[in-house]
């Protein structure tokens, strides 16, 4: 086993000669570190062979229970075609970085341009960026954009009371350094309580945020009205959604959305403990307020179409403290995978997948509803992928018992569970229902 880094190619002779070339006696000499802060201890981390590291991590990860997950609430997975893994792992994509030299990075730039283009098609909005970290940070950036771009005097940001906690806490942090304030509005049957919302909105509101589907899986029936309420008071309407829902549910542009945020990694990624891909699209008028990278088409010196990062003066490396965001490294490679997955599905495949999110959820809800002591869906709405389930017994105990049977579901209230079905677990719904019967 080599003693140094297996990824530093230097032979001993080479090291000696290179040290001589720079006039140093030893590697130690190259470090201009005062003695008082020099480190002469050890980390106590033992080097292992490649196969041993692989074995060790595989062993560690095998301590995760093998559960069939009926989990969603913002982190969704669909079957990812092998093609996506294969092509995205190509080193030319994987080990490249931000396209500072567009002449030799046309490949990745074009993929990102295509990703943006897909989001433009799906949202109906003309501007989409290359990625945010996840839906939570995308929402938080939207609020900051609303703060910068506002035409109103106040800084109230209205979000649904059922907003997922993770999103809410990120949003709070992102607006803490601004004059924006986050407030909630009531929901009704898993979607917006329009009257309650309307009562909360006045000319101090910078942004109204709503989701479709909501975190309960419910499809919002009155989206245009929400858009109108926001528009009439001068607030921006920010819509939260996800890339599969976009293919079937109302087009955001058609309901007056000014900004669309959400998760895009439901396509392209397996469940990954919350690793995300924040989608972000907006209207042309906010172009120069957009956070993150944008790829634009241009021409090269031979007048051929070429792509390049553009409008970089918005970004931190140029504008520093006046940048639209501090984001630099983003989720580009996840965006590449998502674009590949969308391309792989095509419009029919994507629409079909979205339709299944409705029909599979409906079917499973109906099955569960047939069980004694269970009511599903709790909300009188159409659902997308997931829905809330009422159980007469304590929800936590039921979830725990289901786990023992090999199934994971959400607990969202004392007597409420939430269940999510996609093409990945659809073949196991009968088993889930049977497990419910077992534990009830």
């Amino acid at each position: 086993m080599t003693r140094g880094s297996p990824y530093a190619p230097h032979t001993d002779a080479e090291t000696r000669e290179m040290l001589a070339a720079v006039g140093a006696e030893s590697e130690e000499d190259l470090f201009d570190i005062p003695d008082e802060v020099r480190f002469d201890g050890e980390f106590g981390i033992e080097a292992r062979r490649e196969r041993d590291v692989r074995r060790e991590i595989a062993t560690t990860l095998s301590k995760n229970d093998d559960l069939t997950e009926f989990l969603g609430r913002g982190h969704h997975s669909h079957y990812v075609p092998s093609l996506v893994d294969d092509l995205s792992r190509r080193s030319e994509f994987l080990t490249s970085y931000t396209q500072y030299q567009p002449e030799i990075t046309q490949g990745f730039l074009q993929v990102l341009f295509e990703y943006q283009s897909m989001l433009v098609e799906l949202t109906g909005l003309p501007v989409a960026n290359c990625s945010m970290y996840d839906d939570a940070t995308a929402l938080a950036e939207a609020a900051r954009l609303a703060g910068r771009a506002r035409r109103v005097s106040g800084g109230r940001v209205l979000v649904p009371e059922i907003l997922r906690e993770g999103k809410r806490r990120v949003l709070d942090n992102y607006v803490a350094g601004t004059d924006l304030d986050v407030e909630t509005y009531a929901t009704d049957d898993g979607t917006v309580d329009i009257d309650a919302l309307e009562a909360r909105v006045d000319e101090d509101v910078a942004m109204v945020y709503a989701e479709n589907p909501t975190v309960r899986g419910a499809i919002e029936p009155r989206l245009s009205e929400i858009g109108d309420i926001a528009d009439e008071s001068g607030a921006l309407f920010c819509l939260g959604t996800d890339i599969v829902a976009l293919a079937l549910l109302e087009e955001p542009a058609a309901v007056g959305a000014d900004v669309v945020v959400g998760e895009a990694d439901a396509l392209g990624m397996p469940a990954s403990y919350g690793m995300g891909l924040g989608l972000f699209a907006t209207r042309e008028e906010f172009l120069r307020q957009v956070p993150g990278r944008l790829v634009g088409a241009s021409e090269d010196a031979a007048d051929k179409r070429a792509y390049t990062l553009t409008l970089q003066t918005r970004e931190q490396h140029i504008r520093k403290e006046r940048a639209t965001s501090n984001i630099c490294t983003n989720q580009a490679w996840v965006a590449l995978r998502t674009a590949m997955h969308v391309a792989s599905l095509g419009p029919s495949g994507l629409v079909d997948l979205a339709k299944r999110c409705v029909t599979d959820a409906e079917a499973l809800a109906a099955e569960l509803d047939g069980l004694k002591g269970v009511r599903a869906p709790v909300h009188d709405r159409h659902h997308f992928r997931e829905f809330v389930v009422h159980v007469d017994q304590p929800a936590r105990a039921i979830a725990s018992d289901l786990e023992a049977e090999g199934f994971a579901v959400h607990v969202v209230g004392e007597h409420r569970l939430q269940v999510c079905v996609t093409d990945l677990n659809a073949s196991k719904t009968d088993a889930l229902v049977a497990a419910f019967e077992e534990v009830l």
């Binding site: 140093a24 470090f31 490649e50 560690t60 229970d65 046309q106 074009q110 501090n326």
Partner: protein
């Protein structure tokens, strides 16, 4: 070589008809238009695009401050383990493997940085900065201190400025000293009761170690401020110096730089944050810890809350753990040693002026005339003594010599800077090639430089035009044609 857009190959509009829709008409859109291509067509599309892209496997990638080192392919296999594919809302009991690995990585990073507690939540370096500054802010607030300023050296990464502003701080910019380092007198003048933190990169953005770090730390601490370490350049120090030992209170790690997780064309990275003991209670929530042989998630007592909707970029963290485990103490120290050796060797070989030193893993050459340095004084240097070039042009010309150029025109205090970080993965031949590309580019005429590149997939791209007339989607291109 030009690859048409997917939309130019084949595009289909699918109507969503009420008849075969599972939803009432008013809940759905009318239609969706997207590219419709078969798998073989897609495989060719993306294979060709990949071949039009520079990567670490293509050749030298000495992008200063980005640490473009080789990403071991085995770490991809490790992260592809089906057992790693878990949902973040699983019960802690059912994801003990994930929590154990996260806990172990927290421990490793703590040891490497000399920090007492580490959060893995931030999904990138800038997000790490944000989390770190939030911690600083929470700390001051908890102590009843209302501080309004964050000090940032002029040479710092743009993210430092943007982060401080994002957290609501006024940014106090510190001019660089004559030796390229922090000017201690200027710092003295800047530090006050309003100072929440000083954000420092060490070695700094031209690879210079802040020799006065102990004094700097004292000054900041004496004023009640905190010292923040930007981890972008940690690859220069592994096993030789630890931020915690230098007086830093908070630091972030760029695992996609120092710990070789792939940069993915712009991400995902991960930006864990380490803090000293006193600040641990402020870390983001949830945090992972071991209790009696099993692992649990908990909310630190005075947590700043969250900077990511879930637990950050988990799959990236798995790769970082694998890399650290593979290298161990000796491997990590060797990585830094070779990174610094490579930078020094390359600087020796280039004909360009390198105004500051001694640098570590990166150096900022200036695309202008080279002084006859004391150490050298060879004839090449004299020949080139009259040349002064635009750094961006030299970079474009380097493309023609088959290498990726360094970061250009940054940091700004180095005129026409070419910030060069070869990393430890280049061998001597490759460094010699790189030096040749620098030197020949510099020696080429201005006309040649302005015409460059000519041997690449695309010729010089009109960036101003792209910004003047933004076309950000194929829909925009179609609209233009009509």
């Amino acid at each position: 070589v030009y690859e048409p857009l997917l939309s130019e190959k084949n595009s289909t509009r699918v109507e969503i008809d009420a008849e075969d829709s599972p939803l009432p008409d008013d809940l759905t859109r009318d239609s969706v238009e997207l590219p419709e291509l078969s798998e073989p067509e897609l495989a060719r599309h993306y294979t060709r695009l990949s071949q039009m892209n520079w990567s670490v496997e293509t050749g030298p990638y000495p992008l200063g401050s980005c640490t473009m080192k080789y990403n071991p392919s085995f770490t991809e296999d490790v992260a592809a383990d089906p057992n790693a594919a878990v949902h973040p809302d699983r019960s802690a009991r059912s994801v003990q493997g994930t929590l154990e690995l996260l806990s172990d990585l927290q421990d490793y990073l703590g040891r490497i940085g000399g920090m007492d507690a580490v959060t893995l939540q931030p999904p990138a370096g800038a997000a790490g900065e944000f989390a770190g500054i939030l911690v600083a802010k929470a700390y001051h607030e908890a102590n009843g201190n209302d501080r309004s300023e964050v000090i940032v050296p002029a040479s710092a990464h743009g993210t430092n400025f943007a982060t401080a502003a994002m957290a609501g701080y006024d940014v106090v910019e510190l001019p660089s000293g004559e030796d390229g380092r922090v000017d201690v007198d200027a710092l003295d003048a800047a530090v006050s009761e309003d100072t929440a933190a000083l954000m420092l990169t060490n070695p700094n953005t031209v690879g210079l170690f802040e020799r006065d770090i102990v004094e700097i730390a004292e000054m900041v601490h004496d004023a009640g401020g905190l010292l923040y370490y930007d981890g972008a350049n940690l690859n220069a120090l592994l096993g030789r110096g630890r931020p915690g030992d230098m007086g830093f209170d908070i630091m972030h790690y760029n695992v996609h730089k120092t710990f070789a997780t792939p940069h993915g064309g712009g991400g995902p990275g991960a930006g864990p944050v380490g803090v000293v003991k006193e600040l641990a209670e402020f870390l983001p929530s949830p945090h992972v810890r071991e209790r009696g042989g099993s692992y649990e998630l908990y909310e630190p007592e005075r947590t700043v809350g969250k900077v990511h909707g879930y637990a950050g970029n988990w799959l990236v963290l798995v790769k970082a753990y694998a890399y650290i485990a593979r290298l161990g103490d000796e491997g990590l120290a060797d990585a830094s040693a070779k990174a610094v050796l490579n930078a020094n060797y390359l600087a020796e070989k280039v004909d360009l002026e390198v105004p500051y030193g001694p640098f570590h893993h990166e150096f900022a050459a200036t695309a202008g005339e080279r002084d006859v340095r004391e150490s050298g004084g060879d004839s090449r240097a004299n020949e080139n003594a009259k040349r002064s070039r635009d750094a961006a042009d030299v970079a474009k010309r380097m493309l023609d010599y088959g290498v990726h150029p360094p970061t250009t025109k940054w940091p700004e205090f180095v005129p026409e800077a070419m910030l060069t970080e070869p990393t430890e993965v280049e061998n001597r031949d490759s460094l010699d090639d790189l030096a040749r590309a620098f030197n020949e580019s510099l020696a080429d005429s201005e006309e040649e430089l302005e015409r460059a590149p000519s041997r690449t997939t695309a010729r010089r791209i009109d960036q101003a035009g792209a910004a003047r007339n933004p076309r950000l989607s194929w829909r925009a291109l179609d609209a233009e044609e009509e």
